[in-house]
Structure formats: C-alpha cells, structure tokens
Subunit: 405 residues, 2 copies
C-alpha cells in the first residue's frame, strides 16, 4: 500500500507534446508496456542519465542521439530494461528506434529510447514491430495518465503531476510523469522521469534547471541504495506558451525554476510513497552541517541503514540506531557531543546523548505516524540537506525475492 | 537457523587465562549476562575498537585503561550496550570497573569494561553489585564455552574455536570467542571478540598480528552495513607456553600469524553464519583489481545491496543485480566491458554481458545451495579481496522490527 499517494488527477496537456501507450506483449500479463512521447519541432530538450558504470543500451543511445539533434520522439518500454545485454541489446535498441522513426516519419536519431524492467534479458524487438504503428496512431496531448501508467513496473500507482503559474501575466504549464519503486538511489535521475512545459527557455538554462531540480528531487531519494542501470530524466520545453522566452537568470527564470522544482519533488516523493513494501514516508533532514556534501552523506547513511529502516517499519523510536548510523557516516569531521536529533518536533538526542526530557511515549507517538521527519542538527555550520526514504518491511523482501518468479 | 554452524566443541584452556559467567539480571529472561576473563600477570594484550564516531562509554574507558597498564580482567556484559548514555553511562562503566576490581583484588585501571546489547538505556549497576563476587568465585580456565554463551545477544549459537600448532616442537594453543549477528559491518573489529594464546610474543608484534588478522576477518564481513558503537576485539598472549618468544618477524611469527588468522576468520565467519535471519552464507570475492581498496569497495557494495541480498534469499540467479551493484561501487576506474562474474564455477557474466553459454539452470543450481561464492574478476590488476555476508530474509526484518518489544 503506497503511503498517502492517490491516482493523479487533473493532468494538463502541454501544447507541443502528444503521448500514447499500448500493450505490445513485452509484459506477459498484457499490461501497457510501450509509451510514446512526441515532441513538436523547435522544442528544447535536456536529459540526465544514470551514473552507474553499467549503463543500459538505451541510455547509451539516447545520450548519443541527443548530442546530434533535438529529439522528436521518446520511445519508452517497460517490462525489460535491455541492460547487461551487450551488442545484441545495443543493436536491438537501435532497431526499435528505426521502427519508431518509420512509424512516425522522422529520423532514427530523432528517437530517444528508454527501457525499464528486468535486467539481462534480450528485448523482444518483434513486440515493437507488431505494435508501433498502432500506438503512433493514438498520439494525443491528453494521454499523460496513460503514459504514466504505461511506464510502470513494480509501481502500484501511476506518478504524475501538473502545475500552472504565470510569467508576465501569461500562463505557463508544467506536467511530469515518473516511475520507480525499487533499485532506487538515483544518481543524476530517477528510473524514468519525463517533464514537459510549454515555456520557452534557452537551452543552457533548461539544462541548468534540470540539473538543479534533479539534485533536490530525484537525487535526494532512496529506497534501497541501489542505483539503476537505466535511470533517465528528460525535460522538454516546447516554447508554445504566449509568455516571453526565458533567456537570462531573471525573476522569470526564478519563477520557472521554483515551479519546476515543485513538480520534480512531487514526482520524486511519489516514488518513495510507492516504494516497494513501504509503510512509511520518511524525511531525513540534516541541518547546520559544515557543508552540503556532509549533510547529504549523513542523511543518506541514516536513510540507507537497514536497522533504522526496520525500526521505522516497527514504529519503534530506537534512536540508538539513528545515532549509530550518524556515527558511521563517512565525513571528515563530526563533533558527536554537540548534535541533537528530533523525531518531528520531539527532541530525542541532545548534546549527543538521550535528551533529559525525552519520553518513550513522545517518541512512540511520532513513530506511529505514516509520515515521519527525522532531523539531525549538527550545530556546526550553515548547510543542510534533505533525503526522502521508506521503511524496510516484510513486503520489501517479498517483492524483491519474488520479482522474477 | 544458522547456516552450517554448530555449538563449539573441544575448546582448549589457555594457561594464564580464567573465565566465568553469571546471570546478574541485566537480561530480563534470566540468561547469563556478565562474563569475566581474568588474565595472568605478565601477559601482553592488544585491542582494537570501533571506528564509529559514537563510541560507547566502555570503549572509551577500555582504551584509556589499556594505555595506562596491562589489564588483569575483562569485564563484559550483554543485554545493555551502555552507548548513547552520556556522563551517566561513563560513570556507570567506571563504577562497574571499581566493583570488579574490588571483587578480584586488582586496580580499577586493570579492568577493561565491554558492553553489548540495546543502545541508549542506562546500565543497571546494581546488577553488577549483587553478582560480581559470586562470578569471580567461578573463575576457571575451562569456561570458554560459558563465556562465549554469556556474551550473546541476538546470537543463536555460541561462537568459539581453538587451534593448536607447534613452534620449535613446542605446542602453542589459541582459543577465541566472539559474538554478533546484527549491526554488523565492523570497522576495526566485530561486536565483541576475545582471543587468547599461551604464546610469548613481543607487544608491538602482537598489535601488528591483531590488526592484520582483524582486517582479513572481522573487517571483511557484513550483515547489514551498520557499524556498532561497541565493536571491540582483544588479543591476549600469556607467554605461558614452553616455546621461545616471538620477537622478530621470522618463521615462528609467520606460523603464529597463520594460526591466528584461521581462528579470527572462523569466528568472523561464524558471525555471518549466525547473521540475523540468514539462510545463506555468501563469499563475495573480487579478483584482479587495480588495488586492494578497489576490490574491497566493490565486494562490500555487492554484499550490502538489498537487491542482491533478497535475490540470494530467493535463490534467484539475478546476475543483473550483481552487475548493477558493481557498477555503482565508488571506485575511480572500472572497465565494465572486461569483467566476468561467476557463481561458484558457473560463469554468468563475461566481458560485461551475459555469458554466451550461461544457462538459468546452471545459475539456479548454485543459488539453491546454502553456501555460495560470487567471484567478480575485473581483469585489470593483481589485487583481490573477500567479504563474507548473509542474505536478506523475512526473518531479518522480523528480528530487527521486534528487537526492543
């Protein structure tokens, strides 16, 4: 059961973007498994990819195609990651791009392929052959929910969000979708995320917006610390809105960045809310650190600790496990006698030891909630970082022990 | 159920060391919870402690006492870690040393305190007060098994081993005990380990032997990546054996080191065999790396991966997860197109992709075993490292979700 996450509603079309989805047979249960996102000519597009050294064939090809020419089509399949598949996998991905280009009427290099699902099995190209022209025929600007559903693997709820804001009195829209619930500790992007806006924005600024918002969203979540071979996040700006273009870092840029950040964080948090086996949505916040890097390292060390995660599952205010995880974080300098730890607003550790007025009842009350904030105040500097994570439950083990069977 | 681990047998006395154990009431179920190890005058003693920045009060005191004078008594309690307990915890630990010193008739600084169990609760000093003189009265050189049992917390089997070898025709004996099954990714030592020999060996060489053998034993295991606040390992050499003393790095030193290493590895592996919820004993070996550090980083990244560990639990030869974990290991350089991965002697990955002659049946056969070796051959350099680990099962979650209830 996802934690406070419902089916997305009121998704808004982005002028210049059409989507469609179909069931091609890659997923054996007949669910939707191919998604197309068509992008109008003249749109700008930026993308970030996994930093895992094993990068799936579609990641390699998308990166290469993106360097050559602006994309006209994103070709996404779920059910098979086409990773660890060597030359065969590479050739298969190229072939699916060729098939999609023919069906849509564009060049092969204008297609960016993305795959998600099981690693190490060959991509069934015939599924693409048999279905692509039909799916191209379904392209429509109102198919965001279908697309969000079509890219799911172990996700239980589709993840999508829209937002609107104004620049110079003109409305700008951003809509995004994402998928992922396991093998989640993205490093540059989540499993898969696609965000589009009708704003007009300079290419370099678009890339900068993507990097900055990914850092505080998809690069600030973890389910199990495992980085996928297929992580990708794409940001599209069609420039179809009436508002003037964003070409410098002015107030319009700030307004856009803020709205985009909200979309990205909502999608990233949706992944954690739907994390495999999750019963809790947990924010780990490290404040007053000597550097952002230190703060994030400590936040991730706590968020990855199986002992902290099982205590969260058990609603057990076992602050000793949080303290032990902070203590083993690999940072240069830490004064353990100064720090405080809070569960929501309940101070459990003060000056490195149990807070004098802490009661087990107060800790228990917070831990029983399905949304919990853990704040670690280092009292050392001015930097802070937030990581969102889930707990470690029987169902996490069950889902991952049974994934291929 | 521990993996191929039985109650220790045929433990050998070490001349110069006496042990005893008793139930003082720290553990609420009436199990043994205080262990004494008395060391003869003139013995040499070396110790390593946790590198967690939060170090429990007994760790701080043991380190301080050890610097002042050779120890005469190790005072170990289970059921309470006396960690995260601030000044009260520190004073409590000092007081228990004082009580033990009075009971035995030695100085307070000659007592090294060790604690293991729940973090963050105050040590009940009255339990020591009421029981120490009785437990001192039970000291006997044949009580190694009682001591191994008395230091257990979530362990299900006592961990102890003896070995004998000859130096210059004279018999040398080594006997060691250890405890631990969760919060195990020791950094300098395991939860608790105590090893004694009747060999006579120079102090500096003894320290060197301890550091070197701990690196390839307790510092090469992981259950959950969580480093304890109380990790300690003590090596005692009483010098009571007839063999000549070891004062230089000659053949006698090598013989001693080899025997000690075997004892340390047996104890470290016993911790993994008895890891919380373990159904598999897994060796992760990285060969032909550019450095030992690289090899060990990759081995630990694979051994920590929740996805690899759940696949091991499911006996699923999901090599994609191993490959993805190798790919995210934080090392400077890795040529993913060269490496091979083996499950026992079955090659599953060759040149970075699925091996051509690999069959799911062959992988399944190895994964169904309760002892599995994963070898990652980087084909890059000459260095290698081994890490031993367990799988991630429902019972791991159960044990850690219910620990304090």
């Amino acid at each position: 059961m996802p934690v406070n996450l419902v089916e997305p509603e009121n998704l808004l079309a982005i002028d210049g973007v059409r989507l469609s989805a179909g069931a091609s047979g890659i997923k054996k249960n007949g669910a939707t498994d191919i998604v197309l996102i068509e992008i109008c000519e003249g749109a700008r597009c930026s993308a970030v990819f996994t930093q895992n050294r094993f990068r799936a064939a579609p990641v390699l090809i998308s990166e290469k195609h993106l360097e050559k020419t602006p994309p006209r089509l994103l070709l996404i399949n779920s059910g098979n990651a086409n990773a660890g598949t060597g030359d065969t996998g590479y050739n298969n991905a190229v072939n699916t791009c060729e098939l999609a280009a023919t069906a849509l009427g564009c060049k092969r290099e204008e297609v960016l392929p993305f795959s998600t699902g099981v690693i190490g099995e060959n991509l069934p190209v015939e599924c693409f052959e048999n279905s692509l022209s039909d799916i191209v025929g379904l392209l429509d600007s109102n198919n965001w929910l279908q697309a969000a559903t079509g890219i799911m693997t172990t996700d239980t709820v589709a993840k999508a969000v829209s937002t609107q804001f104004e620049i110079d009195g003109e409305t700008i829209t951003i809509t995004g979708i994402a998928k992922g619930s396991g093998m989640i500790k993205p490093n540059m992007a989540t499993m898969l995320g696609y965000v589009a806006t009708d704003a007009s924005i300079d290419s370099d600024l678009l890339s900068e917006c993507l990097k900055s918002t990914v850092e505080s969203s998809f690069n600030s979540i973890t389910v199990d610390g495992d980085t996928s071979t297929n992580d990708s996040c794409v940001l599209i700006a069609t420039g179809k809105a009436k508002a003037a273009g964003i070409n410098v870092k002015d107030q319009r840029y700030d307004t856009f960045l803020k709205a985009l950040n909200k979309v990205m964080q909502t999608l990233a948090q949706a992944i954690i809310r739907d994390a495999e086996g999750a019963t809790k949505f947990v924010e780990v916040k490290v404040t007053n650190a000597l550097s952002y890097a230190d703060a994030k390292t400590i936040a991730y060390t706590v968020a990855h600790s199986p002992l902290v995660k099982t205590a969260l599952f058990a609603s057990d205010p076992n602050w000793g496990r949080i303290l032990a995880a902070v203590g083993r974080a690999e940072i240069d300098k830490l004064d353990v006698d100064k720090l405080s730890i809070f569960l929501d607003d309940v101070c459990i550790v003060k000056n490195g030891g149990r807070a004098a007025d802490y009661t087990e009842e107060a800790g228990q009350r917070v831990m029983s909630q399905d949304e919990i904030s853990i704040t670690i105040d280092l009292v050392e500097g001015d930097d802070s970082a937030i990581v969102w994570t889930s707990d470690l439950s029987y169902d996490y083990v069950k889902i991952n022990a049974e994934y291929r069977t």
